[in-house]
Each structure stands twice: as structure tokens, then as C-alpha cells.
């Protein structure tokens, strides 16, 4: 049995056409209303799309519940900013350094993930990310401590340039995710998620596939991180924070776990967040975090398949089919 049957039922329309369509529409808005605020919000949304795909690959496809995903993102940020600000390397080198660190780290996480599962894996990740966070503060001469490092001003890019880079990166990762999901590798990931014991008996090396999934996912997150460093022109230990990890998860959960569309739809939440913050009086600021949290609770309990599934189930009901249940983790 080819287990991509499992996937086919979820598929809304051919992911490649869908993605290019949506992104082109999105891009088309910018020249019309192209002010800085909007581009800024759009860039943040793109970053979360990339991170969302990255998380989706690891958790949605491979079934390894990544709770501290900001770890990979943060390493990408630090790889870029340290190489550029400290060692005056070109941007491309910063990108590669970030990738390299991430590959090492993700191999470790993947190895742990192939040995541990469930709560144990989650706790190991928390331990690892705490260690990295502490080191990022303590290795002050290298990392700049809590205040971080400034990138030289000549690397400052125009907002619209940044926007286009973000757009291209988002499209590329979306395509990559769609491709991986369809490929034999993706099939393997899903098979491992659905039934690790069965896959083991079929002779596939669970550890190898899990490490592979982690490395690929971390590379995507690293890309987002390196870009974020260029966007922010600095680094900061905050990039490892739980809030970012949580936001990544929320974006995918709200959109729809395991689906190509998930992060794209979910990133609308980032946009919403910015808008809500603009409307709310500042004294009410803590309430917006609370609202965020409540959205997460409601989505996780009521609609774990995500917003996209609500839409899809409407579409499917017309054809008289029922939905496939998707769970967050095994």
C-alpha cells in the first residue's frame, strides 16, 4: 500500500498551483498599498510562513512534536549576525554558517527524537534550548550577550527589497514543503508518524528518517532566521524565546497541521495580531496576549485540524464526504 493515499484525501487542489496562486495574489497587493507598515507586517507574515512550514514538516509530517522550534530559528539568526557583524563575512557566508550550526544541532535533536518520544522528547528539547539560550547570553564576546550585536549599516536593505526576498523565500519553502510532502520521503515520514513499529518491521531505519526530517526542518528555520537577522539588523537572545516557538505552533495549528496551506492561512493570525495591537489602547496590551492564548486554546480543542479544515469541510460536505481526523501528535 502506498501510504500517500492518506495524503491525497486531504489535498485541496494541486499544492503547486495553489501556492503560486495565493502568493502571487498576496504579492499583487503590495504595489497597490505599498507602505512600510504593510510591508513590515507582510514580512513578519512571510517569516512565520517559512517557520510554519518548517514546523509543519517536523511535526505535521514526521510526527515529532517540536516544542522549542525557535531554537533552530535563533541559531539561524546568530549564525548570520555573528558572521557578518563580528567576523565581517559576506551575507552568503552568514547564511551557510547558520545552516551549518543548525545541521549540527538538528542532528542532535533528531537523534534524541529517534530515541525518545512524547513527553520525554519535549522535555529534552526544553533542556537543549535552555542550554543554548543560556550560552547565547554567557558567550558575550561572541554573541553580544543580552543586547546582541549590530550589523554594519551598509547591510541595511530597503523595506521593499526585504519584502521581495521574504516573498521568494516563502514561495521556495512552500514549494519545498509541497514537494517533500508528495515525495517518497514525505510518504516515509507520514508512515513513521502513523505507525513507527510497522515501519520498523518493514525495514526502514526510523532514526535515519527522523534525523533527516529534523535537519530539513531546521534548515528551513535557519533560512528564516538568517533573513530575520538582516531584517532586524541585530540579534538578541529573545529569538530563542518560548513565545516565538508558541507563535510558530499557533500559526500552523490555526491554519491546519500537515497541510501545505496551513501556515499560509495561519499567518493571517500574525497579521491580525498586528492589527489588534494597533486598535487596542496600550494599557490593554496584556489583554491582546490573553486573546492570543484563548484563540490557541479554542483552536487546539475545537478545531485541531485548523481553519483550513473548516473551509474544507464545507467544501467536502457538498460532496458528502467526511473529514479525516488529524491529531497534533501521536
Amino acid at each position: 500500500m502506498r501510504s500517500d493515499n492518506l495524503l491525497r484525501r486531504e489535498r485541496l487542489l494541486h499544492p503547486l498551483t495553489a501556492v503560486s496562486l495565493a502568493l502571487v495574489i498576496l504579492a499583487a497587493f503590495v504595489p497597490i498599498f505599498g507602505d512600510r507598515l504593510m510591508m513590515n507586517i507582510a514580512i513578519m507574515a512571510m517569516i512565520y510562513i517559512i517557520l510554519g512550514h518548517s514546523w509543519n514538516l517536523l511535526t505535521g509530517l514526521a510526527g515529532m512534536f517540536s516544542i522549542t522550534h525557535a531554537l533552530f530559528f535563533g541559531l539561524g539568526v546568530y549564525g548570520m549576525s555573528i558572521s557578518v557583524a563580528k567576523f565581517h563575512l559576506p551575507i552568503i557566508a552568514g547564511l551557510l554558517v547558520g545552516l551549518l550550526i543548525n545541521i549540527v544541532m538538528s542532528a542532535i535533536v533528531g537523534m534524541i527524537g529517534s530515541k525518545l518520544s512524547g513527553l520525554y522528547f519535549v522535555m529534552a528539547q526544553v533542556g537543549l534550548s535552555q542550554t543554548i539560550y543560556t550560552l547565547s547570553i554567557q558567550l558575550f564576546p561572541l554573541t553580544g550577550g543580552v543586547t546582541g550585536l549590530s550589523m554594519p549599516r551598509e547591510y541595511l536593505m530597503d523595506k521593499s527589497t526585504l519584502y521581495w526576498i521574504a516573498l521568494i523565500l516563502a514561495i521556495l519553502t512552500t514549494l519545498a514543503f509541497a514537494f517533500i510532502r508528495k515525495s517518497r520521503m514525505g510518504t516515509m515520514f507520514v508512515a513513521l508518524k502513523e505507525n513507527p513499529d510497522l515501519s520498523l518491521s518493514l525495514g526502514s531505519n526510523v532514526g535515519k528518517w527522523r534525523i533527516m526530517a529534523t535537519v530539513m526542518s531546521a534548515s528551513m528555520a535557519s533560512l528564516a532566521g538568517s533573513f530575520y537577522a538582516l531584517f532586524m539588523m541585530s540579534n538578541n537572545p529573545e529569538v530563542f524565546s518560548m513565545v516565538i516557538s508558541l507563535k510558530i505552533i499557533i500559526v500552523v495549528i490555526v491554519g491546519g497541521i500537515g497541510s501545505v496551506w496551513g501556515p499560509i492561512v495561519g499567518s493571517s493570525l500574525v497579521v491580525m495580531d498586528e492589527l489588534i495591537r494597533g486598535i487596542m489602547p496600550t494599557t490593554m496590551a496584556p489583554f491582546s496576549v490573553i486573546i492570543y492564548a484563548l484563540v490557541l486554546i479554542i483552536m487546539a480543542i475545537r478545531h485541531p485540524e485548523g481553519l483550513i479544515s473548516i473551509g474544507r469541510s464545507i467544501g467536502l460536505k457538498l460532496e458528502g464526504k467526511s473529514m479525516k481526523k488529524v491529531s497534533i501528535s501521536k
Binding site: F65, I67, I112, K115, L116, G118, L119, Y120, V122, M123, A124, V126, G127, L128, Q130, T131, T134, L135, Q138, M242, L246, I249, I253, P286, F287, V289, I290, Y292, A293, L294, L296, I297, A300, I301, P304, S327, I328, S329
Partner: protein, 291 residues
């Protein structure tokens, strides 16, 4: 460094470790026995600390009433959480929803109590064992109180009908049902009781430390550490490994330097997870027996 100093540091580690053990025991009870992963655990402890502070210090409620109010409140919080957001068995969903609850708690605390650090301003008396060796009185009381709470919780689980039915539900829900035990109600009860332990731990921590809205993070990591060393679900072990963590963290600070505290401790934590995922004291997955 003299031997006296060494003994002092170790004693201090043991006493603080006992309280860590108590803090972690409720987490390990929830995760191991009830199969509920509660990431809002740390912030719940923090909330208990803030409430203790405000009930006693700011609103001047007599201590006995304050404790009763706190218990009632936490029992209710536990009950409501279990009935609403933890009414499922998927760990992923539980982690996400409880992390969201953590955000809610932290921000509510900031709104109502401000982010200002609070301290009960209780000055600890030292008891001199010899001229150079001394232990803190508050710490000592807390240590024995923690032990007493754990022992009485153990007795509750083993000697009372409610405790026995909790264990029965945890082990075989369906069979407990056909024996006439309302498993949902019992799970609610068990979870609420674990929140009582959190309340007790909160009171103890408040006498020892100052509290700020992000205090919970620290308690959460400590709980993870303790819980993993003991083996998830092993409550007796959690007290013991709380003490081990207490000693270890004191030793790292003393011998290596404080800057190595976190990396070494967390490195060790990941290592234990990889080498002995069931904890140092658990030979197999015999988890429910030790609760």
C-alpha cells in the same frame, strides 16, 4: 575551602531540594499518573505565590483563612481546568492549551498585581548546629512540611477509598467504571488535589523566595529536571531526586562556578533522558505503583 563550608552548602542543597521535590511531585503526579501534561504548572505555582502574598500581606486576611481561601481557589482552578481544557488525552493538545493558560495566568498577574517583584520579607533564622555549620529555620520547616505533605499524599492514595479509586482509574479506567467508579469525576478530583499540592508548594516558596511573574519558568525547569531524574510518575523518587538536584546545583556553583550551573545541569538532564529515560530509580515502566 573547609569541610564546614562544604557541609553547609550540602545541607542547604538538601533543604531546598526537598521543596523542589514537593513542587515537582504534583507535576509528576499529573504527567505520570493522570497522563495530563501541564505546562501551565510553573505559572500556577507563581500564581499561588502571588495570591499568598496578597492575601496575607496586602489584604491582611488571617493566615488560616488565607490558606483556606487559597486551597478553595486552587481546587476550583484545577477542577475547571480539567473540565474544560484538559478533557482530552492527546498530549500535544494538552501541552498547547496549557501553554496558552500559562500566558493567560502571567498576563492576568501583570494586570492585577503588576510585574513588581514581591517578597514576604520574612527573615530566616539560622539554627547553629556547630559554630560554623548552620541551617535556615524556614528552610528546615519547609523541608519537613514538604516531606509531611508527600507522606500524607501517599497515605491518601493508599489508605483511602478516594485515593484507591484514583489509582484504579489511572490504571484501568474502563474496569474502574464497571466497578461503579465514576472515572471522569475521579480524574477531576485527582487533578484538583494536585492543584492543592501546587498551592501548598506556592505558600512554601513564598516564604523562601521573592516572586515575579516569570518565577514559574524556573519552577517548570526544576520540575522537569526532578521529574526526569526520578522517572515520570514516581512521587517518592521525586522528593529524593529533588534533593539530589539541590545538592548538585550547589556543588556545581561551588566547585565549577555559577556560570556553569545551567549548561551543566541541563546537559546532564538531556543525558539522563537519553541514557535512562525512565529515570534513575525506575527499573521499568512500573509507574502507577509508586504514586
Amino acid at each position: 575551602m573547609g569541610i564546614d563550608t562544604f557541609i553547609n552548602i550540602i545541607l542547604n542543597g538538601i533543604l531546598i531540594g526537598g521543596v523542589y521535590g514537593l513542587v515537582a511531585s504534583a507535576f509528576t503526579f499529573q504527567a505520570g499518573a493522570l497522563q495530563i501534561v501541564n505546562f501551565s504548572y510553573g505559572s500556577s505555582t507563581m500564581l499561588a505565590m502571588y495570591l499568598t502574598f496578597f492575601l496575607i500581606k496586602e489584604w491582611n486576611i488571617p493566615i488560616v483563612f488565607a490558606v483556606v481561601i487559597l486551597f478553595a481557589l486552587f481546587f476550583t482552578i484545577g477542577w475547571i481546568m480539567r473540565r474544560t481544557i484538559l478533557n482530552n488525552t492527546n498530549h500535544g493538545t494538552q501541552i498547547l492549551t496549557t501553554m496558552a493558560v500559562e500566558l493567560v495566568i502571567i498576563n492576568l498577574v501583570i494586570i492585577f498585581f503588576t510585574g513588581f517583584p514581591r517578597d514576604m520579607a520574612i527573615f530566616e533564622k539560622r539554627i547553629n548546629i556547630t559554630d560554623t555549620i548552620s541551617v535556615g529555620l524556614t528552610q528546615l520547616i519547609c523541608f519537613f512540611l514538604a516531606a509531611a505533605v508527600l507522606v500524607s499524599f501517599h497515605l491518601f492514595l493508599n489508605k483511602t477509598w478516594a485515593g484507591m479509586s484514583i489509582r484504579a482509574v489511572v490504571q484501568k479506567k474502563e474496569i474502574a467504571n464497571i466497578m461503579g467508579i465514576n472515572s471522569e469525576r475521579i480524574m477531576d478530583l485527582a487533578f484538583s488535589i494536585s492543584y492543592l499540592i501546587i498551592a501548598i508548594a506556592g505558600i512554601m516558596l513564598m516564604t523562601m523566595f521573592q516572586v515575579e511573574p516569570h518565577f514559574g519558568n524556573y519552577m517548570m525547569t526544576i520540575s522537569f529536571l526532578v521529574c526526569v531524574t526520578a522517572g515520570i510518575g514516581n512521587m517518592g523518587g521525586s522528593f529524593l531526586s529533588g534533593i539530589i538536584i539541590g545538592i548538585l546545583s550547589a556543588l556545581i556553583t561551588t566547585l565549577l562556578g555559577a556560570q556553569f550551573h545551567d549548561p551543566v545541569l541541563f546537559g546532564l538532564f538531556v543525558l539522563i533522558l537519553l541514557v535512562r529515560p525512565n529515570g534513575l530509580f525506575n527499573s521499568s515502566k512500573r509507574i502507577a505503583r509508586q504514586i
